[in-house]
Each structure stands twice: as C-alpha cells, then as structure tokens.
C-alpha cells in the first residue's frame, strides 16, 4: 500500500505550518522527513495517520492494505506512550483486544512480536522497570502486532541516549531486512536519516515546504556507521538545513 500526499497545506489559526506538500511514500520503503525544529514535520506525520485533518489538500491511500492488517497506519511515538499500569504483554494485547483477538491467538502474536524485538524474557515486566531503549522496543513490538501497512515513526529515538540509539537503529535495520515494511520516519537527526532512509525529504522552516528529496541507493544492510558515502549525503543535508536551522532557533515561539 502506498501513501500519496496531494498538495497538503495546514495552518493552526493564523500560523501556516505546512505549505503545498506533495509526496509519495512507496511500498516497502522508508521515507525520512527531516527539517529544522518547528518546520511541521510531526504535524505532517499526524496528517498522514489521520490524527489531524489537513486544512487544504488530501492524504490518499493507494491500493488496499495487505491481508491480516489490523491497523493500516500505525504510530511509534517519541515518548513511547505505554500504559504504565499494564505489563509489556498487556500493552501489546491492548491493541489486539479491540479486534476481538484474545487468548491463544493473541498469545501467538505477542510471542512472535516479542521475539522479533528481543523482549521475550520481559513479557511480565511493567514499563517503569524498563530502560528507555526497551520501552521503545515494546512500542515497536506493539506496532508490529497489528501488522501495519505503513509505520509512522515520530522521532522514535530522540528520547534515548546515543548508544541506545545506535543499537535500536541496528534493530530497525534487522527488522526491515527480515521483513520489509513501509515507513515514514520523522527525525531531526541526520545520521538516523542517512542510516535508515531510502528517500530523505528535507523540509524548510515554517511554513514547511519540500526543499529537496534525496534518494539513497545503498541497501540498508550495507550501511555502516561513518560510511564515507553516507557522510557525504549527511553533509549535503546539513548544508541544506544549516541556515534554516539557525533562523528557526532564533524565532520566537508564539503559540
């Protein structure tokens, strides 16, 4: 299933946050959205997943979601959004219960996604007992449990320290290599973008417009830390963004 954004614009009252965004998110590819803070990249992600309604333009699903898909557009949030009163297992079964999946069928799915995210030993643990990286792996496991057509990742690694981030990036690459999925990945970290993105969309500062779309041809599994070719792309992205980022930093927030 592909996603197409057709001339999407969005404003909060007087403030225009996104202007005329047209973009294709192709099947089984990871599209990274990068841009200076406040450029509306998280807003764009909320529009794609239907958590907000665009002021102008349309978000279209092309084709139908694959067989067995429970929730076509599934988010992974920066703050994990795990229910603190439910165990790891309970947090995953939460999203299955509403689809009438309980008992043995639910257990089978939970066991599978926990194994894929290397959490099998922690199914009974409560979120407060887990480290940040493990919490985010639980959130990823929860997203996998509903067999999404498109994963919408909203700065999933930004709340983590750099070592954990490195490990989780490897985990995401492994997950994708084993079973490719479609994803839109919002980040302000260019290193994450060049590591995980097949296509990197650079947004300008507010109102966010597409500055450039960079295709990265190298297969995900071959991308090494500090690879010279990736470093070059990363430098190019930074050149595109530097002045905008500085200007965005000096902007007053009026909300």
């Amino acid at each position: 299933m592909d996603i197409r954004l057709d001339a999407v614009s969005h404003s909060y009252g007087e403030t225009e946050v996104l202007r005329d965004i047209s973009l294709d998110i192709p099947d089984n590819k990871i599209v990274c959205l990068v841009g200076p803070s406040g450029c509306g990249k998280s807003t764009l992600l909320r529009l794609i997943g239907g958590l907000e309604r665009a002021t102008k333009g349309r978000v279209l699903q092309l084709g139908s979601p694959p067989e067995g898909c429970l929730n076509p557009l599934t988010y992974v949030f920066q703050d994990f959004a795990l229910l603190p009163w439910r165990s790891v297992q309970g947090n995953i079964s939460l999203v299955l219960e509403d689809h009438g999946i309980r008992g043995a069928r639910a257990d089978a799915i939970i066991t599978d996604v926990l194994a894929r995210t290397k959490l099998s030993d922690f199914s009974k643990a409560l979120p407060r007992q887990l480290s940040g990286g493990m919490k985010q792996r639980v959130a990823i496991a929860r997203a996998l449990a509903v067999k999404p057509a498109v994963m919408l990742l909203d700065e999933p690694l930004s709340a983590l320290d750099s070592q954990t981030r490195e490990l989780l990036m490897d985990d995401l690459v492994t997950l994708w290599a084993r079973q490719p999925f479609t994803a839109t990945y919002v980040t302000h970290n260019l290193q994450e973008a060049v590591r995980l993105g097949h296509r990197i969309v650079v947004l300008s500062r507010r109102p966010g417009q597409i500055r450039e779309i960079v295709e990265v041809g190298m297969p995900l599994s071959e991308r090494e830390h500090r690879d010279p070719e990736l470093e070059k792309i990363q430098r190019h992205l930074w050149d595109l963004m530097r002045d905008e980022a500085r200007a965005a930093d000096e902007e007053l927030l009026d909300v």
Partner: protein, 269 residues
C-alpha cells in the same frame, strides 16, 4: 601572605543537599499519641488540669469498656456504620460518574462545573431540615445528607483526575483504532484512578463529619446521638469515648484506602 607555599589548609566541602524528602517513621505517630495521652493522664491525676477541662484518659477507657460490655457500643455503631456506608457509597459513586462525564464531555463540563462550584461551599448541615421535609425524619434523609456531602468533593477530584490523564496515551489509543468506549475504560479510568482515590480520602472524612451532624438531629442510636446526649449532660468521659470512636473510624477508612491504593496503583511505586 602571598607565599605560594602557604596555601590555606584544605577544607572539606560543606554538605548542603539533603532534606525535602519525607521518610516513613512508623513509631513517630504512635509516640505523639502516647505522649499527649500521658500528659493528660498525669495532669488530670495531679489536679493541674481540672476535671471540668478534660476527663481522665483512664476513665474514658473505662467508659469504653462499659460500652463494650453492655453491648451499647454495637447498638450505636451498627446504625452509624450502615448510614455511613449507604450514604458515602451513593454519594461517591454518583460523584465519580458525574466527574467522569464532566471530564469527557464539554457540554457536561460547561453545564455542571458552575453548578458544582455553587453547591460545594454550602454547609450541607444547613440543608438537613430541607432533607427532613423531602425524605422524612427516618434514615433516608440521613443517607441523602451524607451522599450530598460526599458527592461534591468526589466530583471535583474525579474530573480533575480525568483532566490529568496523559493526552499522549489517549492519542496512542486513537492511533491504534481503539473504540471510544475502550479508550475510556482502558486508558482514561485507570489513568484517573490515583486522583479519584486521593479525592475519596477527603470525601470519606467529610462523610464522617456529616454522619455525626445528621445523627445529632433526630436519631435514637448512633455515635452522633451518643455524643450529643453525653454533651448535653456534660458527661466528658462519654463524650470523649464517642470522639475516640470517630477518630478510629477515620483512621480505619484511611487505612482501607491506603490498602486499595497499594493494590490498584502498584504500577506507580
């Protein structure tokens, strides 16, 4: 003076952190009680506290013993407890329902918050005559008074608790396509539980206050009636025995809520 070799002797860095972190001291509460009661006992025995000011704690204990032996204790306690249980259960459950409605629906909030603000400060005791006219002199008016008194603080605590539920969790529920009812039952209510329970502590203490008030106006048996009778006879021993029962009741209720909090909110720790 400015000799480089003549540095001042090293001083250990002064510790200035610490404090502002309450630690549990189990015995301290008991020690305060024992201290005060001992002072009272010594004072009343030696005579520098006159018998008109305070009764001897040992006499209060003896009165308590008599109450127990004569079976009068339960004759007073049972009706009081049933009034408390029925009234507080009605008030708290309606309060929780209305509080959740205010928390969830803007129309309910816009319509009911001013109403609750208007009835909260009314001393409910002042309405007892009205309740007697509405519900009669028997038990119903007492239930109504206690229920009404527990209702308002429960509503305020509950909608505050619902407001404080982490919005990002609700957004997560929506993003996974959970139904509205599931979001309320599995995310909003458990998330509001800490606030609801701490509101219940206050509501139940108010329920005890109103129980006594209701029993002072027209009840043959009950802790309130017992205290009123003792008071009008200036029987300080019995008055204090009644007051001690009320205090114990408060402590027991608070312990029960503490137990519930540990059971239901173990995930917080």
């Amino acid at each position: 003076m400015s000799d480089a070799n003549n540095k001042p002797a090293p001083i250990e860095v002064r510790f200035r952190g610490g404090g502002f972190a309450p630690k549990p001291h189990r015995w301290m509460g008991l020690a305060v009680f024992v201290f005060l009661i001992t002072i009272m006992e010594i004072g009343t025995r030696s005579g520098w506290i006159s018998a008109l000011t305070l009764p001897k704690p040992s006499d209060v204990l003896a009165t308590f013993g008599e109450l127990w032996e004569s079976g009068l204790l339960f004759k007073h306690l049972v009706p009081s407890l049933s009034r408390l249980a029925v009234g507080a259960a009605i008030g708290a459950s309606i309060g929780i329902v209305v509080g959740v409605l205010i928390g969830l629906f803007s129309y309910a909030r816009a319509g009911l918050v001013p109403l609750v603000a208007a009835i909260f400060p009314i001393p409910k005791i002042a309405l007892l005559p009205l309740f007697v006219i509405w519900f009669g002199i028997d038990e119903t008016s007492k239930y109504a008074l206690i229920a009404f008194g527990t209702f308002t603080p429960t509503v305020v605590a509950t909608y505050g608790a619902v407001d404080n539920v982490d919005r990002s969790l609700i957004r997560m529920g929506q993003s996974f396509g959970l139904s509205w009812f599931s979001i309320v039952r599995k995310i909003v209510l458990p998330g509001a539980m800490p606030g609801i329970l701490s509101g219940l502590r206050i509501s139940l203490a108010i329920a005890i206050i109103l129980l006594v008030a209701a029993e002072m106006l027209g009840a043959e048996y009950g802790i309130g009636a017992y205290i009123l009778e003792a008071g009008s006879l200036y029987d300080l021993e019995r008055l204090f025995a009644g007051v001690v029962i009320l205090s114990l009741l408060g402590v027991i209720l608070s312990t029960i809520i503490g137990f519930l909090e540990r059971r239901l909110l173990g995930w917080r720790a």
